[in-house]
């Protein structure tokens, strides 16, 4: 019996906290003064929590991969590479006097991390191309529409589209982007906003309790 009462009290406290924090944030957004200051304080707390969450995420990542290395599980070598690279960059930043702006860390970022990230993203071009080539196999009608529009946009955005006769394609591309695409994107953004409002109201009113999970 006492455990039930305790759980109910805890639930009530959580609901109240969530409601109060949400109301303060909303009022602080639209007003100036006390609520704005309180909202700013809460936002700063969120920033601190997110920073700690990053640290917790890093710790968990290292723990998982170190465990995999120690136990010799599948793909342990890649885990070893990940752990060693993370520890190396961390050590460079801690050992150097400049922190994250240390020249060693900056060098690693500029000559190792940035090229790797750009290379991984550039693979998208190959996969996207082969996917576009295969797309008509699966859904013919939709694929044809998609490919025709893609063709127009690709040619219209190309640097050589300024020269005739490709400038006609560029004009068609501009019309497509300014009218149907813009209308669709605005509708999606509006829908997302309404959905976010609905979810926020549900959390404020206690129907959804993600903080209890």
């Amino acid at each position: 019996m006492s455990s039930r009462i305790t759980s109910r009290i805890i639930l009530a406290l959580n609901l109240i906290l969530a409601y109060v924090a949400g109301v303060i944030s909303i009022l602080g957004f639209f007003t100036r003064g006390t609520f704005a200051d309180l909202g700013g304080v809460l936002a700063q707390w969120v920033a601190v929590l997110v920073g700690f969450a990053l640290l917790v995420g890093l710790g968990n990542l290292l723990k998982v991969h170190i465990t995999r290395v120690v136990r010799g599980q599948k793909d342990w070598f890649y885990s070893l590479v990940l752990v060693s690279s993370a520890v190396a960059v961390l050590a460079l930043g801690l050992a150097g006097s400049g922190g994250p702006g240390d020249p060693a860390v900056a060098w690693v970022f500029q000559w190792i991390y940035q090229p790797l990230g750009a290379a991984l993203f550039s693979l998208l071009a190959f996969f996207l191309t082969s996917a576009l080539f295969r797309l008509p196999k699966m859904h013919v009608t939709e694929a044809v529409v998609l490919l025709v529009v893609a063709l127009i946009v690709i040619i219209g955005q190309a640097p050589f589209s300024a020269t005739p006769p490709a400038n006609i394609v560029a004009d068609v591309k501009d019309w497509l982007l300014n009218y149907p695409v813009l209308a669709g994107v605005r509708a999606i953004i509006l829908g997302v906003a309404f959905g976010a409002i609905g979810v926020s109201l549900r959390i404020l009113l206690g129907f959804d309790r993600p903080y209890m999970e």
Binding site: A43, L49, A106, G117, A118, F126, I154, A158, A170
Partner: protein, 628 residues
């Protein structure tokens, strides 16, 4: 020589074991069927006591069974011990008919059947003559309600002795049989099935465990439906066709609807829990013929299957499926080796190689395409004007919110923005809500500051990463100084810097312009929602070309929108040309690709992509035409 059924007198063939009309067991030992006909012989031969009683019920046997039972010996319970199929010659001296008081026997049936009532409590259970349990009778007669039979010949103690699983009596010494461990109400051979509820007759013992029970049916011959008589009987040929199934089994097919059967079963106390159902009505239904198309085996399927079931004797290092040496088909190996490169090349391999070849050739060879006439980028002019027209006495806030995946476009755009800011001697502060942003901010500003003589902390500041997305921007608007009190490069308090110190930067409104260098739509939206709606500071955005359609809805929105959008390498080229006109052309660092080279490569790649898309469309079109 034909055999006359002892019960109904139907003439059956010599080889028949059961009567074609009534299902009665036919004698085969030369004895008169009428003399030796007993209602229990057929069931006794199968050593299924409950079946025997079922048979009695179906044919509505009259007369007491005590007379022939005088020569019978008691038999052990059929579920407990295997027993040979008894023949009429092996008459048991005592066959006991047992009636359960809770059995679902309507009084009419009981009166008609009048089973033998010779009861011997000392006899072991499982006597062949014992009546079937209630759940069997409930299947046969679902309408019957369990009514106590006032005429039952056995006492409760006798019933408990005979069928302990149905009538356990505390204190009564029960023979140690596996039935004790079974759920009450069920015969031992059904103890293994799931019973959802305990039967009403007795309380189940939680300690009872189900032991594997030998059903004793190894020696029992399977039921063979009687053969159709060649000569029609006196009753007519119509009686023969339905008589293929004995009457006692035909009654089971009366309830064809499974829902009705289940509902009726649920009315029985011992039945609705038992998932084992009565013989399905499909027994009398014609078999369903399904014509399933059988695909012929593929070439090499037999060899592959053989290889899979054979132990691998050859340790090969080849990837994929290992073919053991027991496979003598060399064609299989050669075929597998030959098909690989072709499968890989078509069509992905060719596409990848084509793209790579084109890009590398343009980048390495640098064909003389000449000066690129980039398409009109009206956003570039507005972007340039927005920076130029911002108050020169106020610093500019530059938001670095892009990551390494977009560095190809965003680095060019960021360098162009830094070029204009530094060329016009504008002070600026950089922040990031992306963890990678401060690294790029420090890198680009470090590369450009020496050319323009910019001094850190005096002319510009890199404030670092602000975690929390919307909350971080909200906190930035509310209290700018406390959100990022330390800089990114030297980790020093920014309040002591010349750029911020002295109250020059009190908040977000102290900035003259906000330049958003973002690679994701969410980051741009957060900036507009949290900052643009709460300040009067104008915002301009430089985004990748793929993000432009998502950024356009925010363009020219009053009070909270974006003043200008600069996108992609094309926009960067136009923007740089504008800067060249204003501040003069800058020398290209050696070893790096110029913007023109990049755009040439992009043009060729886009052409190739367009050709591939056209090829896909043509391919589909040709397929459709050829089909027609």
């Amino acid at each position: 020589m034909d055999i006359i059924c002892p019960k109904c007198g139907t003439l059956n063939k010599d080889a028949s074991r059961f009567c074609a009309r009534c299902g009665e067991d036919l004698p085969h030992d030369g004895e008169s069927a009428q003399e030796n006909a007993t209602p229990h012989e057929s069931a006794r031969s199968l050593d299924l006591p409950w079946l025997q009683t079922v048979q009695d019920r179906a044919v509505k046997q009259t007369g007491r069974l005590a007379e022939p039972q005088a020569n019978k010996t008691p038999e052990p319970p059929p579920a407990l011990s295997p027993s040979a199929a008894s023949t009429p010659a092996q008459r048991q001296p005592e066959d006991v008919h047992i009636l359960a008081p809770e059995a679902a026997l309507p009084s009419s049936q009981q009166q008609e059947d009048e089973p033998s009532i010779d009861a011997d409590p000392s006899k072991p259970t499982g006597d062949p003559n014992e009546p079937p349990p209630g759940w069997v009778l409930g299947i046969l007669e679902p309408d019957a309600t369990p009514t106590p039979n006032p005429d039952q010949p056995y006492e409760p103690e006798e019933l408990a002795h005979i069928m302990p699983w149905a009538h356990p009596q505390p204190g009564t010494e029960q023979p140690p049989t596996p039935e004790d461990t079974t759920s009450p109400g069920l015969p031992p051979w059904l103890s293994g099935v799931t019973v959802q509820e305990t039967l009403a007759t007795s309380t189940a013992s939680p300690d009872k465990t189900v032991d594997p029970i030998d059903l004793g049916i190894d020696d029992i011959e399977p039921f063979m439906p009687p053969e159709v008589a060649e000569q029609p009987t006196e009753e007519g040929a119509a009686d023969i066709a339905p008589a293929q199934v004995p009457e006692w089994l035909r009654s089971l097919s009366s309830t064809r609807d499974k829902a009705e059967q289940a509902a009726q079963l649920s009315s029985q106390t011992n039945l609705h829990e038992v998932p084992v159902q009565a013989p399905e009505p499909e027994i009398v239904a014609e078999p369903v013929a399904r014509h399933t198309p059988v695909r012929p085996p593929r070439a090499g399927a037999v060899e592959t299957l053989f290889a899979l079931v054979q132990p691998l004797t050859v340790d090969t290092t080849q990837p994929g499926v290992r073919i053991p040496s027991t496979i003598t088909s060399l064609d299989l190996r050669a075929q597998k080796a030959r098909s690989r490169p072709l499968d890989w090349l078509l069509p992905d391999g060719i596409i990848y190689i084509a793209i790579l070849a084109v890009l590398l050739s343009v980048l390495l060879i640098r064909p003389p395409f000449g000066d690129v006439t980039a398409p009109a980028a009206p956003g570039a002019q507005e972007f340039y004007s927005a920076i130029k027209d911002s108050p020169s006495d106020k610093p500019v806030l530059v938001v670095y919110d892009w990551d390494a995946t977009r560095s190809a476009e965003m680095s060019v755009l960021s360098q162009a923005v830094m070029r204009q800011l530094m060329s016009s001697r504008r002070r600026f502060v950089t922040i990031s809500t992306n963890p990678q942003g401060p690294g790029f901010a420090e890198q680009i500003t470090r590369n450009a500051r020496e050319r323009y003589g910019y001094v850190y902390e005096r002319d510009y500041l890199v404030l670092g990463y602000l975690p929390g997305n919307e909350a971080a921007l909200n906190a930035l608007v509310n209290n700018f100084n406390q959100s990022l009190p330390r800089d990114y490069i030297y980790n020093r308090n920014v309040n002591g810097s010349r750029l911020i110190g002295g109250g020059q930067l009190r908040g977000i409104d102290s900035f003259g312009l906000i330049i958003a260098l973002t690679s994701e739509e969410a980051e741009l939206r957060n900036l507009i929602e949290q900052v643009g709606t709460r300040t009067n500071v104008p915002i301009v955005a430089a985004v990748p070309q793929g993000l432009e359609p998502l950024a356009r809805p925010y363009l020219q929105v009053q009070h909270a929108g974006i003043k200008a959008i600069l996108s992609g390498l094309t926009g960067a080229l136009q923007y740089n040309r504008q800067l060249d006109l204003q501040y003069g052309a800058t020398a290209q660092p050696s070893g790096t690709l110029s913007l023109t080279d990049r755009l040439n490569t992009q043009s060729v790649a886009q052409l190739l992509l367009a050709l591939i898309i056209l090829a896909g469309l043509v391919r589909i079109g040709m397929k459709k035409i050829l089909r027609r």
